[in-house]
């Protein structure tokens, strides 16, 4: 679903896991993340890492998304109820809608 302000909205219920929702805006080319925001009933430890992830993914080219996300989830960050791949796939699914 694309809102009038250009924000793509989507969500994914992970099987046996939690719900993650995503608000995504892309640059005009449709291949670079301008801004991304995640909400949902998943867990991330430490919690503040989610905001860090959102900032870290701004200006990321979609072709580098998977490596950027896996580099972020080091042993110091635990995400429960959602896997890093779910985060990437949700962004890819949303981005595919504007191509």
């Amino acid at each position: 679903m694309k809102e009038p302000n250009g924000i793509l909205k989507g969500s994914k219920k992970v099987e046996g896991g939690k719900l993650i929702k995503c608000d995504l805006s892309l640059d005009p080319s449709g291949s670079v993340i301008r801004e991304v925001r995640f909400t949902g009933d998943f867990f991330m430890h430490p919690e503040e890492k989610l905001e860090e992830l959102e900032g870290y993914l701004a200006n990321t080219h979609l072709s580098h998304l998977q490596e950027r996300v896996s580099a972020f989830f080091t042993k110091d960050v635990q995400v429960v109820g959602v896997k890093p791949d779910d985060i990437c796939n949700l962004i890819f699914e949303l981005a595919a809608k504007v191509r």
């Binding site: 969500s11 994914k12 219920k13 099987e15 046996g16 896991g17 939690k18 719900l19 929702k21 925001r37 995640f38 909400t39 949902g40 009933d41 998943f42 867990f43 991330m44 430890h45 430490p46 919690e47 989610l50 635990q78 429960v80 109820g81």
Partner: protein, 254 residues
């Protein structure tokens, strides 16, 4: 046998309840208070949402205001919960992060810490089982949910045990994502959620509290010694209530 502190703090509003949990986390983490189990209630009733949730997306804010229901965002992740008055028991358990009981893996810790509640429910003759990630179920229906965080060098897990449930009111306050309902292939909330009253209509909230105390003691091989909040914890709780939990900047952050 080691002794943990038992806190029965009774009814507080949502902001105070969440501030007390965090104040206890601070004092247990820095070693000034022992491992603590707390049972508490909410007055007025309240909706709490997970750290990563958006209040406006999860909660019908206007309906809560109409019903005089508090809204608060937790420092723990997880989902939105309606804490109805006299209809649930809320617990928290706080220990140092270095406690040998705790795995580094938070998913594993849910099973460990929820075993006290499972044991308490069994004490009431209710055949409950832990269901990953963070639920306790009876006959496949959820009766309890928990959320865990690690910070300041401590670990906090808090959660709710449903004593009774007013689903009509609950769903008039919460916006439930349809994806979640579809995934579980169950179209009625009453088929997914149960309560102690559904299994036992002859026990009151105090009976449940006593059973939970027994459950924690048996599951962890400890004694719960009734205690009070320390002066430092009361001060921290007041400060956190004012500076964090009462503030729209915190509750409506996401």
């Amino acid at each position: 046998m080691s002794e943990w502190r038992l806190l029965l703090t009774g009814e507080h509003n949502a902001f105070s309840n969440m501030a007390i949990d965090e104040a206890v986390l601070l004092s247990v983490a820095n070693g000034t208070s022992p491992t603590t189990v707390r049972f508490y209630q909410w007055s007025p009733p309240a909706v709490s949402i997970g750290y990563f949730q958006s209040m406006n997306e999860e909660v019908d804010v206007e309906a809560c205001k109409r019903h005089g229901i508090d809204m608060v965002r937790r420092i723990t992740g997880g989902g939105a919960v309606f804490h109805d008055k006299m209809k649930e028991i809320t617990y928290s358990i706080v220990m140092r992060e270095s406690d040998p009981m705790l795995s580094k893996d938070i998913r594993e810790s849910y099973g460990v810490l929820c075993s006290g509640i499972v044991r308490g429910l069994k004490r009431l003759g209710i055949d409950a089982e832990f269901k990953a990630i963070n639920d306790i179920c009876v006959g496949g229906k959820k009766i309890s949910g928990s959320a865990h965080t690690r910070r300041y060098g401590g670990a906090l897990q808090h959660g709710t045990i449903l004593y009774d449930v007013d689903l009509k009111l609950m769903f008039s306050l919460l916006k439930v994502p349809s994806e979640k309902i579809r995934d579980k292939l169950i179209n009625s909330a009453s088929e997914r959620v149960t309560s102690i009253r559904a299994a036992r209509n002859d026990v009151d909230l105090k009976d449940v509290e006593r059973a939970m105390i027994y459950g924690f003691e048996e599951a962890f091989g400890i004694r719960l010694r009734p205690g009070e909040l320390s002066e430092g914890e009361k001060r921290d709780a007041k400060r956190l209530e004012k500076e964090r939990y009462e503030r729209a900047e915190w509750n409506f952050k996401r």
